[in-house]
């Protein structure tokens, strides 16, 4: 028997952390919300296949702290998906820059894929509607990352690590109004299965 994929959600205090948990659960993933103070060893013991770093109120543009997220990014050999604050922290951790947005985005936005053949966006059209809620954004991509998507007012909407299965999204794939959100989660889950 094939056991279910196990993906935990690291709670950085986001309004939609629980939505991420729900989306994974609805897609038959074995999932749990855990505090961002959890020790990496504790996560590792659970034999997880992947990790989601949730968003949260911390202003990554102003501070460089997000619980133990740095430790996870340093040690993980499984896929990690950073969302909003999780994505911004990922960028900072790998040497990128995060600043308060000149034009913060809230609600409906058109996402423009710049690299359509990445497996992470398989089945997602070049232009699609996504929902946002951010005060800060990544303004300078880390050297080891590749840009995958942009919007009119935020140039770094999606990025991936060149060598590791780490992805960052400024928008929120977990909310109902992001049209291809579930598809993106399915793609991430498929990566975690490998």
């Amino acid at each position: 028997m094939i056991s279910a994929v196990r993906i935990f959600v690291i709670d950085n205090g986001g309004q939609w952390t629980h939505r991420e948990w729900r989306t994974l659960r609805d897609l038959n993933v074995e999932t749990k919300i855990v505090p961002n103070t959890t020790d990496f060893q504790d996560l590792y013991k659970h034999e997880i296949d992947g990790l989601v770093l949730s968003g949260g109120a911390p202003r990554i543009g102003l501070t460089n702290r997000l619980g133990n997220c740095g430790d996870y990014l340093k040690k993980a050999n499984f896929p990690i998906l950073g969302i909003c604050a999780g994505h911004q922290f990922m960028a900072r951790f790998f040497g990128g820059q995060v600043e308060p947005s000149k034009i913060p985005e809230f609600g409906k936005i058109e996402l423009n894929l710049l690299k359509e053949d990445d497996e992470f966006f398989e089945g997602v059209p070049k232009k699609s509607i996504v929902w946002e809620s951010h005060n800060d954004e990544v303004t300078d991509l880390p050297d080891v990352f590749e840009l995958l998507a942009e919007s009119e007012n935020c140039k770094i909407q999606a990025m991936r690590h060149i060598k590791k299965p780490f992805y960052g999204l400024q928008f929120h794939p977990e909310v109902e109004h992001t049209v291809y959100g579930e598809k993106i989660f399915r793609n991430f889950i498929n990566m975690c299965k490998k």
Binding site: Q15, G107, V175, E176
Partner: protein, 315 residues
């Protein structure tokens, strides 16, 4: 995917093991508390007492309807009319978070009083995920204090039971349908009620105005949905603004308040888009409200913001 039948069977079993003494459920008559009441009732029968509080901030005829409902479900129930008490405690209060906290605190006081009198050990609530998420905690910012979370004292005498804590409204509706409840599609109504649909002080007089305006919005939209003119919104209501503007009534100057109409589409309340209401329907709503509340309201606006950046309710 969420399996309603499985959830019901499992939860009734858990509740049977958990609730050993008499329990009280805070019963508003909405989908969340009704589903919770039915589950607990199935688990422990008449050991459960449903308490409905008329806060004075209920919608038109609401508490009468809720009473009917509790009878229909054969619940062992108590009705508490606390209108005057609520009005008094909100006197002079304008801050939305203060309103919510005072109301939450009042609810708990009433429940504790009933519990004391009837030797009840457990407080059951229909709390769902967005309630505690938006109320905030050590990690999360407080967007708004939901009455069933933000009003709870630090030290609780009653043991709290919240079987729907991890669910969203669409999942609770699935449970309601599975349980055959006629209120399964009822629109959400916040615990603090009309008090948070009155910007500024929620006086009894202003409550009457917003109660009538909400009634008109609900009726017009429900009629239009029935006629197939529009999709049923997730939530639809009126908000009374403390802003006065000039109008003209029968060749005379008028100076009255503004009512905002709000209607949104959503699945789980965590993100919402404002509803695309046909102009004809908006027109009917506007005319009916201004005709019915002539000397008080002379301007109607429609709220065209999504969540985020706004929230569904204005406070």
């Amino acid at each position: 995917m969420f399996n309603a039948q499985e959830f019901i069977t499992k939860t009734i079993q858990i509740l049977k093991n958990e609730i050993k003494e008499k329990a009280l459920i805070a019963f508003s008559g909405g989908v969340d508390s009704t589903v919770t009441a039915v589950l607990v009732h199935k688990a422990v029968g008449n050991q459960l007492i449903a308490v409905h509080v008329d806060t004075g901030y209920m919608r038109k005829n609401e508490s009468i309807e809720v009473k009917k409902m509790m009878e229909e479900l054969s619940l062992n129930y108590r009705l508490v009319d606390a209108s005057q008490d609520f009005y008094d405690s909100l006197k002079g209060v304008k801050d939305p978070e203060k309103k919510r906290k005072i109301i939450g605190g009042k609810f708990i006081k009433i429940f504790e009083k009933v519990a004391d009198e009837e030797k009840i050990e457990y407080l059951v609530q229909g709390t769902i995920a967005p309630d505690w998420i938006e109320s905030g905690d050590n990690l999360r910012d407080t967007i708004k204090s939901h009455h069933n979370v933000g009003g709870l004292p630090d030290i609780m005498k009653l043991k709290l039971v919240e079987p729907l804590r991890d669910l969203y409204k669409d999942e609770v509706r699935k449970l309601a349908r599975e349980l055959g409840l006629r209120i399964s599609e009822r629109q959400p109504f916040p615990g603090p009620g009309l008090a948070i649909r009155i910007i500024g002080e929620a006086t009894p007089e202003r409550t009457e105005i917003v109660r009538e305006a909400c009634f008109i919005v609900e009726k017009e939209i429900e009629d239009s949905v029935e006629k197939g003119l529009m999709e049923k919104p997730w939530q639809y209501f009126a908000v009374l603004l403390p802003v006065k503007t000039v109008g003209v009534h029968g060749d005379k100057r008028a100076y009255g308040n503004i009512v905002a109409v709000r209607a949104v589409q959503s699945i789980d309340a965590m993100t919402c888009a404002y509803s695309d209401i046909p102009q004809k329907v908006l027109d009917n709503i506007s005319t009916k409200i201004t005709n019915n509340l002539g000397d008080k309201i002379n301007r109607i606006v429609y709220d065209i913001t999504n969540k985020p950046p706004s929230t569904v309710e204005w406070e």
